[in-house]
Structure formats: C-alpha cells, structure tokens
C-alpha cells in the first residue's frame, strides 16, 4: 500500500518537474525576445526616418534631426579592443602565475583579491578614474607618447586626459579580474597528466605551460576573453566618466570620444521624440554587437572542442 502511494507521488513529481523546468527556461527566452522586440518597436520611427544613413552618419544633431551611429560604434569597438590589447597579456600572465607558479598560500590570497576587484561597482571605478587615472593619463602617459611617438596618428593632438586612452585603460582594469579569474579556472581544470606528460618528455616549466597547458585550455581561454570583451562593450558608467563625451571619429587615442553605452547614459534623460528613438536604435545596435560577439565566441569554442574530440 505504502509503496504504491509513494510511487504515485513520485510519478506526480515526474509530471510536474519537467514542466516546471520548461517554464523556467521559457521565461529566460521570453525576456530576451521581449527586449529585442521592445527595442525594435521603440527604435522603429528612427529606423524609418534615418534608414541606412543612421549606420554611416557621423553626427548626432537633435536640432537638425540628423542622427548617425558611426562615432559611437567606432568608439565602442576602439575602446573595447584597446582594452583587450591591454588586458589579455596581463590577465593571461596573472592566470598562469596563479595556477602554475605562485606558492599555494599566495594563490588563495591573490585569487580572493582579484575576485574583490571584479566586484567593485563600476561607478566607483569611474570615480577613481576621474580623480586618479585621468590626470596620470594626461601627464605623463599622453604627453610622453605625444613627444616621443607623436609621428604616429594614434598619438597626435593635445593630451586631454579624458578620451579613448583613459576609457580603454579603465575598461582594461575592469575586465582584467574577469579574464584572470575565468582563465585561472580554465587552467586549473587542465589535467595534471597533461603537465606530467610534457615534463616527462624533457620540457622546462615554460615549455610545459606553453605547449601543454595553454593549448589544452585554449577554447576556455578564448571564452574567458570573449566574456571580458562582452563586458567591455556594454560597460557604461565608468567609461562615461572618463571618455570625455566627444562625438567624433579620429585615430588619435588622446581625443575625447564616446561609446554606445556612454552616449545612452549621458543623453537618455534629456532626449525625447526622434532623438530618443535614435538612442534606442543605438541600443539595438549595441545589443546586436554583443550578441554577435557571444555567437562568434560560441562558434570558436565549439570548433576547438570538436577538434579536441573525446579527450579528457
């Protein structure tokens, strides 16, 4: 009797639980689709009005009702890619140090500090950027680069402090802890047998890391970098505070610029009508960019892991 009763209960669980999990996953999908639809509806008047010229336009002029997204998209990509250029070597070095080189007592302390760094609210990082980073970027960094490498188009113009350079550095500071901590997890998951295999062939520690550990973890490391990139692309507050809010396309890293996210943050409250619709179209573009980055990252990881086959 009792046995059959519990079995009935279990069966009930079997019926309800799959449906419950299905609903949970549908909610996630629904939110995503909803955001996309709302963005599209809100942006529609701007899409209708500006059309293709929105994507290539270089000015943002509510008076003339002329809106172009290119400087914001350019600024987003430039600052994020520059941030990656700074962040990748540092984070990889730190991740390798934490898994392969540091003594164990230091590993846990350093990991803890890095995790705290990742948890600092971006507005606080932005304040630090405003008061500490920007003056340093102005002098010595930009003035030095201007004097010594001023022939290059990247280092021309007056050293403002506020601009792409400061934005890229602040973004790098914000994504280094993320890439480091994910990268450390990836490297930690590389089996000891892989390390020993390389060592037993007569590899030095560096050869072991570069030829066994890093290749084994490469798909995970790319994933970590892509997540860092996605964070950099969407980062708003800290960038808004240091990028200087100039709507222009220029090779000079000293120049004030803007990103999609910082444009949204600084203009949103004072916009209405077509300029608001245009801002939302801008948001839609950012959404598509980050989505593409994630899809590309997935494809890369999938390609690399399918090559890896059934290895453990």
């Amino acid at each position: 009797m009792i046995k059959s009763k519990t079995r009935v209960l279990f069966r009930l669980g079997d019926k309800i639980f799959p449906k419950f999990t299905l609903i949970c996953s549908l909610i996630v999908v629904a939110v995503l689709v909803n955001i996309l639809i709302i963005l599209f509806i809100q942006a529609w008047p701007a899409i209708k009005e500006s059309g293709f010229s929105f994507l290539v336009g270089r000015s943002w002029d509510p008076v003339k009702n002329a809106y172009g997204a290119l400087p914001a998209v350019y600024g987003t990509l430039l600052s994020s890619i520059l941030a990656l250029v700074i962040a990748i070597p540092i984070s990889m070095g730190a991740a390798i140090f934490l898994t392969e080189i540091a003594p164990s007592w230091l590993r846990s302390i350093a990991s803890f500090i890095i995790e705290i760094l990742a948890a600092i609210p971006s507005v606080i990082v932005g304040l630090w950027g405003l008061f500490v980073l920007v003056p340093v970027v102005r002098n010595p960094i930009e003035s030095w680069l201007g004097t010594h490498l001023g022939a290059l188009p990247f280092f021309q113009g007056p050293p403002f402090g506020f601009g792409f350079m400061a934005a890229a550095i602040i973004l790098a500071i914000m994504i280094i802890p993320i890439i480091t901590s994910l990268g450390r997890d990836v490297l930690k998951s590389v089996p000891g047998a892989q390390r020993e295999a390389m060592l037993a062939l007569g590899a030095t520690r560096w050869e072991m890391i570069s030829r066994a550990v890093l290749p084994y973890g490469r798909s995970g490391l790319i994933g970590a970098i892509m997540l860092g990139l996605a964070r950099a692309l969407g980062e708003t507050m800290a960038v808004t505070m240091v990028i200087g809010n100039g709507y222009r396309i220029t090779a000079s890293l000293f120049s004030p610029g803007t990103t999609v996210a910082s444009k949204l943050a600084s203009d949103f409250s004072e916009s209405s009508g077509l300029s608001l619709n245009s801002l939302i179209e801008l948001a839609l573009i950012l959404f598509i960019i980050t989505l593409s980055v994630n899809v590309i990252a997935r494809l890369l990881i999938w390609r690399l892991t399918s090559v890896k086959g059934k290895a453990d």
Binding site: A197, A200, L201, G202, R211, A212, R218, K308, G309
Partner: protein, 276 residues
C-alpha cells in the same frame, strides 16, 4: 628492517663492472613532506631488460619509479634522499638539470595522456621538438613513422596522422604515448602501470611491444598485475608497505626465481595470492 636481506638478494644479482647496470638506486628514500613513502631501496637495473616492480596498492611502486626520472619532485613538497645512478652518475647531483635527465629516462603513464590539441604526428614528435628544430614536414613524418613503427602503431594510424591524438582508441593512445617517449630516444623507459586503463587485448599488444622494445631499451614497469610481471619481465622487484606505512623493497631477483622460488615468506604469500 630488512636491509641485510635486500643487500643479500640484490647482491647475488649484482653484475660485474660498470656495464652491469644502467640504473641503480642506492639507499633511496622518498618523502612527501614529512611522510616517508619509500625507504632504503637498493636496486640494480640491467640494460636492455625489463624489470617489473610489483606489490600491493600503496606500497610505493609508483613513487619509486617516479624517483628514477626526477618526476617525484614535481609533486609539491616531495623530495628524496639517497642516490639514483644512471650510467654511474648520480642524477640527483646538485647542479644536474632534471629536464636533461628526463630526456634520457622517458616515462609512460597509467592513463594514456596524448596531447588532444595535437595531431597523431605532432604527438609523436612533441618531445623531440623540445630539443631539436623540426621545420620540415618530411622530417617530422620520417621521425613519426620510425617511432610509430617501433611502437607497433604505424599500420593502424598511417592514414590518421592528421587526426587528433585523442581520437584514437585507449590502447592506440597508450602506444602513441610510447612512441612519443621513444622519439626522444631515451636510454631507459619507465612505465607506470601502462595497461591498467586498457582492455585485455590492448594490454597484450602493449606487452608484445614491450618484449620487442627490450632489445634496444631498458624498461622498468610498475604493475599491480602479477601475471603481467610474469609474462613480460626478466627481473622482478617485490615491494611492500611496512608497519610504519613506508614502502620497502622486500625481494629482487630473476622473475622465474621470484615466481617459483621466492626467498622471502612475504613474497611467497603475495605471489600465491594470500594477500594484496
């Protein structure tokens, strides 16, 4: 505790002159931190022969073999005392680079561990590439073919050289790892339970391969499988954990002698299956 007996048994097998052994352990002790894992091992290993190290789990067989190519110290806090002589030279002499020792004494591990991001071909030359620049593809292919043939794997993988090393079956992966170790051209190959993750057919293939390799190489194999030791080895060392939890060498001798006429009661008990 049995130092005298060991000396006696190993002594009776000592070979005359410097050529008598290629690898020799002298009063070798292995530690993990303060824990003594292996104590006072004295062992001579004849060139171009197969020496099996047998004994119950936890007796320090793997620890001992890892001392022979300085892989023991890779573990955090691990160290040794005593000597390990390779061609009469102590590999633990201060100033000797463990990296150079490992190119002379290769190792094959318990679980096949090919490099999954490398092709079969790249796996074979992975160690070789550490010491010499192999720029030409034909050069790499020549070396790969030579050692894949030595590892009795060539016929099975000659059409799969570009596939991932991890796409092969378990037995093939292990022979690939053997080919990879051979390609460095070591004098001694250490095998740490190389068949424990393999099925019986793959195991027999590896055993055949080992018999063939013993013509040119010195092989030391750790195995928990007594039959395997009986099938493949010329010499057998029996290890056991003492009351102090440290593993020691109980008896060392010709394999037929150890299996048919062991001198020590504990060896006999183990061989006849009374424990372990």
């Amino acid at each position: 505790m049995d130092t005298t007996k060991q000396t006696e048994t190993t002594g009776s097998r000592s070979f005359s002159g410097n050529k008598g052994y290629i690898l020799k352990a002298e009063n070798l002790r292995a530690f993990y931190g303060a824990f003594l894992a292996v104590k006072d091992v004295n062992l001579d290993i004849k060139p171009k022969s197969i020496t099996a190290i047998i004994g119950p789990s936890g007796c320090g067989k793997s620890t001992l073999i890892r001392c022979f190519n300085r892989m023991h110290e890779v573990t955090h806090g691990a160290r040794i005392s005593g000597k390990v002589l390779l061609d009469g030279e102590d590999i633990y002499t201060p100033g000797i680079d463990p990296v150079s020792i490992r190119t002379r004494i290769g190792m094959v591990f318990q679980k096949p561990n090919p490099f999954p991001t490398m092709s079969v071909l790249e796996n074979v030359v992975a160690g070789r590439r550490l010491t010499s620049v192999l720029s030409k593809r034909t050069e790499m292919e020549e070396i790969a073919e030579k050692f894949l043939r030595q590892a009795a794997l060539w016929d099975e993988v000659k059409d799969k050289l570009k596939q991932s090393g991890a796409s092969l079956s378990g037995g093939q992966q292990q022979r690939l790892c053997i080919a990879r170790a051979l390609a460095v051209e070591p004098e001694v190959i250490l095998m740490d339970e190389p068949c424990s993750a393999l099925d019986p057919i793959a195991t027999l293939k590896i055993e055949d391969l080992m018999r063939g390799l013993a013509k040119d190489y010195t092989i030391v194999i750790v195995t928990h499988n007594m039959q395997q030791a009986g099938r493949v080895s010329d010499m057998t060392a029996f290890m056991m954990m003492g009351d102090d939890r440290a593993g020691g060498l109980i008896e060392f001798g010709r394999t037929d002698q150890i299996f048919t006429n062991p001198k020590d009661k504990r060896t006999e008990d183990y061989i006849t299956g009374r424990f372990g």
